[in-house]
């Protein structure tokens, strides 16, 4: 079979990745710069026997996704900043009720309506702390069209396995850029679907398995009649006010991410073996950083790139190892310092941390990052 090579936008490859992963439900509300994802899903899903619905707002969009997912769908929504803000309410519900789904946020400039057609990377903290209450989140950040496809597949796999919403944190730069990529053939990428329970219905506990990761769980209408609620609940899924059960539930939510950091965290490193100056950057900004470290190397400067592919849970350990080694860490991002704050938090080594930021709707240029590297090398 000949290779399937296509020229695609990051948003298009995200949609194709979703279909590849077996997504069969999309609910959402159109918003720039994520709309191409909804448009592609509206076109492709019914062909695959799946279903697409455009709801009255983003809250309803994620609500249908969670409803469909609770009924067994592999479901997704896509949005941008203003819609992501509205979705916070039910992102929390999905985490509490442990419903798998994928939420794509194609970041644009904010706050408020901000810059609908221009990119930004300022929803980093919102993806982690945007909801009320304690719970971890998972956020993956593609830096290319191909990675947008592959991380969408991974987001579905993690959602199914960890029983929670997984955020694909794209940005307008990658979402709207076209590159060519080879579409993986069937079976080339692993697809994880959660196991179904096999016990007698009377013995079924919806939140009862010892580990919440990789376990079996049932869907509404599958013959296992259970309760799902956003109230803090016991193993059955019934609301509880008992301190021991509350503590059990909260620990369970935390442990499912904290006990699996090695599996969840992916960090890409380039030229880091002998690097004295590292650039820390993700998503669209990392494209600039990739160019910049090469230009710096051409000037004879030992610069390297650390690119988090998983942004949440934050790669504390990998970052700390780099901070311990290098002289200077340059944090390149399209925000006023959301990534910078995390790097400073992890930096216990008196390593110099230098921000390179832009928040005028444009991408960082390689020159801006190279200048910071050259300055640091002095």
């Amino acid at each position: 079979m000949s290779k399937d090579i296509r020229l695609l936008q990051g948003n298009e490859s995200c949609s194709l990745g979703a279909i590849y992963a077996g997504c069969n439900f999309f609910g959402g509300y159109p918003i720039t710069p994520s709309t191409e994802i909804a448009e592609e899903m509206a076109l492709m899903l019914p062909r695959e026997g799946g279903r697409f619905i455009q709801m009255e707002d983003e809250i309803a969009g994620i609500a249908t996704v969670l409803g469909a997912a609770a009924a067994g769908a592999k479901a997704m929504t896509a949005t941008s900043g203003p819609g992501f803000s509205l979705m916070m309410e039910l992102l929390g519900y999905g985490c509490m009720a442990e419903i798998p789904c994928v939420i794509v946020n194609v970041q644009r400039g904010g706050p408020s309506t901000g810059l609908p057609t221009k990119g930004a990377q300022a929803d980093v903290m919102q993806a982690r702390w945007g909801t009320h209450g304690d719970h971890p989140t998972i956020a993956l950040c593609p830096s290319s069209v191909e990675e947008s496809f592959k991380l969408t597949v991974r987001a579905f796999n993690l959602a199914e396995k960890f029983r929670m919403p997984v955020i694909l944190l794209l940005d307008e730069f990658i979402g709207h850029m076209r590159e060519k990529m080879e579409i993986p053939g069937p079976g080339e990428m692993e697809i994880y679907n959660h196991p179904q329970p096999t016990c007698q219905p009377a013995a079924y506990l919806h939140y009862g398995d010892g580990s919440s990761v990789g376990g079996a769980y049932a869907s509404l209408g599958s013959g296992y009649r259970f309760n799902i609620t956003g109230l803090t609940h016991d193993q059955h899924g019934f609301p509880t006010g008992r301190a021991d059960e509350i503590q059990w539930k909260m620990d369970r939510l935390r442990a499912k991410v904290e006990d699996h950091l090695a599996e969840l965290i992916e960090v890409d490193q380039e030229f880091m073996d002998d690097a004295e100056i590292a650039v820390f950057s993700y998503g669209g900004a990392a494209r600039t950083a990739q160019q910049a470290v090469r230009e710096a190397r051409a000037k004879g400067i030992k610069a390297g790139l650390v690119r988090p592919i998983t942004l949440w849970p934050f790669p504390n350990q990998a970052l700390a190892e780099v901070l311990r080694k290098v002289k200077t860490m340059i944090v390149a991002e399209i925000s006023q310092g959301q990534l910078l704050g995390e790097v400073q938090r992890v930096n216990q080594f008196h390593t110099k941390v230098v921000p390179v930021q832009r928040y005028d709707g444009e991408m960082l240029t390689p020159t801006e990052v190279v200048n910071a590297i050259v300055e640091a090398a002095k």
Partner: protein, 274 residues
């Protein structure tokens, strides 16, 4: 010992006693729903009860169906997703006046507009009960609530008229005093395709009744009895005689093609053009 006929449909070992106050009408609505489902012989593995937040919305915990207790106002949107993904399921939405018409008002009208195939039971007690008696979109103007200590300044919604205007296939209203009529209305609604609404007027003696000096639960039910007029009788009465009355019965009942069925046609169309 003979069991109560509803007993087998409940989750007695798990979640009783319930949270509803003595004299609350919600248990009567629950009984009517269970009897309607039993009468129609709907398999409970195919029943999904979806609710939002509020006194009404606690019902799914008690009934042994598939149950999904969602966030405030969002039940109809969740239910739309459940039904669209698996159209074989019977999806009942349990909601209240605040849940469906205030925070969830947009979802309510849009589900009616797109004719989502849901049976919505709106338990209207004219107040936010669970949180202590704040006024709702169905608190009549001038009535008292904890956030309307001098009486409300706002007009109230007629949920049945609202749903019909937005495109619902079936709308009806019953009162808990007439539990048999209420059960029939719910039974009919369950057989209808498309967006079906049954508004169940359910007294809240603890908050609405006390704040508005309407007396005991018994008195509130007696008031219901005395002030309920069937829609057929109401048609023959002059408007001034209907002031302050609760009109019950079926208001709107048309045959429609529900959203899920139309979407199945879209799937066929998309696959044919593949």
């Amino acid at each position: 010992m003979r069991m109560h006929p509803s007993y087998e449909m409940l989750r007695p070992g798990k979640k009783f006693p319930h949270v509803w106050c003595p004299g609350c009408g919600h248990g009567i609505v629950q009984g009517a729903i269970i009897r309607a489902v039993q009468k129609l012989g709907l398999p409970r593995d195919e029943m999904v009860m979806v609710s939002g937040i509020g006194c009404s919305s606690r019902m799914p915990v008690y009934v042994d169906f598939n149950s999904l207790h969602t966030a405030h106002g969002r039940a109809i949107a969740f239910a739309t997703g459940v039904k669209l993904h698996n159209p074989k399921l019977h999806v009942i939405v349990i909601t209240g006046d605040g849940d469906a018409l205030a925070i969830g008002g947009n979802h309510f009208i849009h589900a009616a507009r797109r004719n989502a195939d849901l049976t919505v039971i709106l338990m209207n007690n004219n107040i936010y009960g669970m949180t202590g008696g704040q006024y709702s979109p169905t608190t009549p103007i001038g009535k008292r609530a904890s956030t309307a200590p001098y009486g409300t300044a706002e007009r109230d919604f007629d949920p049945c008229a609202l749903a019909q205007a937005a495109g619902a296939a079936f709308t009806a209203r019953g009162v808990v005093y007439n539990a048999v009529e209420l059960e029939k209305l719910i039974e009919t609604a369950l057989t209808r395709k498309g967006f079906s609404l049954v508004e169940a007027i359910s007294p809240c003696p603890t908050l609405y009744g006390r704040l508005n000096k309407e007396g005991s639960a018994v008195k509130m039910l007696q008031w219901q009895k005395a002030n309920t007029v069937n829609v057929k009788a109401a048609e023959k009465l002059p408007p001034d005689q209907l002031n302050g009355k609760i009109i019950t019965g079926v208001f709107h009942d048309v045959e429609t093609i529900p959203y899920t069925q139309i979407y199945n046609q879209i799937i066929q169309r998309a696959q044919a053009s593949k």
